[in-house]
Amino acid sequence: MSTHAANWPLSAASITVRPQATPSDQVRSSQLERVVRSDSAPWLPSLLFHLKLLENSGRNIPGIGDLRIAETTANQVRRLLAYFSEQNLPEPKLAPFSGGGLALILNIGDQELSFAAYPGHSDFVYMQTNEDDELVNDGVITLDQTREISDLITAFLFSLA
């Protein structure tokens, strides 16, 4: 047995962590309730702003008609945006569609992973396509299925490797 092992756990074991310098280090927040700061990703303030425009006027792109979404649909999409920002994902796109639906689309190269929220539904329809626009994976998922969402995104990101 090595000397080091014989001394365990008397030897002072420690690890050094270099925390990411973020403004959140300097601001107090709720100790118990989970909240995600609106500036937790650089792209989040702008997307939240455009999401609000869609809620209020149905227009986030000049020249495009009224694609207004309900507050419940917007809340659902905000929860997913909060999750994306916590996972340090690249900026997703907001894609409203007729009937009051809204999709969040992750693009890497020509590949795409989308999560579509439909009014009156508390789940998302997801769809992954490859560079030839062929369907790779699809299904329905809820926000409580965080492990499954994480697996989907990981599979999407690693499919590029």
Binding site: P9, A12, A13, S14, I15, T16, V17, R18, P19, A21, D25, Q26, V27, R28, S29, S30, Q31, L32, E33, R34, V35, V36, R37, S38, D39, P45, S46, L48, F49, K52, E71, A74, N75, Q76, V77, R78, R79, L81, A82
Partner: protein
Amino acid sequence: MSPHKQGQVRLHFDNPPVTETAIGFYFQKIEGWHLLHQGVLWDKFLPKYPELEVLPTILDVAPQQKVLFNLNSPTLRTGFTNKERTQLVQIQDGLLLHNWRKTTESPQYHRYEETREQLREDWSTFRNYLRQRSLEGPVVSRCEVSYFNNLVRNEDWKDFSDLSDIFTVWRGLPQSSSYGTAQMAGFNVFYQLDTGVANIAVQPAIRSSDGKEIIQFTLTCSLSPRNSEDEELFRCLDECHENARRVFVDFTTDKVREIWRQNR
């Protein structure tokens, strides 16, 4: 002079924005304390707090380039809660806090006096445990009272330009072609008071439970005690509470307090 500046104010709202309060003590790390003590200590709290929550560690230091974690005794924040999960005692090497939190099932706000009594019991349990284990009593460096208020979009405010209707210190941004429309705004202010410090943090956020946009308005008052005797610690807490009430009134507008239906 306004009533609150004469120490006469007692705030009461029919619809208060507060969703969580935390009161308690920060102290120097206790020689000989180990994470396993927290498990054994839970047994003492079990009749009152049968549920357990493991919480992210609070780093009670200024932002640093590196943080050392001792693997022989990692620091963990544990929360022991009552069955309803509205009352909670948080323990970590270096702090003990008692929280009240609002839940859907139990939204009724618990006033400071009630929470203080809960903390007094928790603190006594903790000190008794230290004595039983022949550990040194805590040397308290800070007493603290915090209020976490969630201001919900479309209920308490509609647009970031409304901030000046909520906070007296916020004068707003003039509309101009160079500023455009404010996408987001927040601020963090520290005040040195006659006794102690007040920190007001206003931060936009998304509430994970329902996806609603909120402005989280956190008010924290702290004070260093002259010694670690119970009488002094709870006197300091009362002082922090009084400071928090005064700052809250000074910092929020009459208009928003009407929305929260302040009773006079």
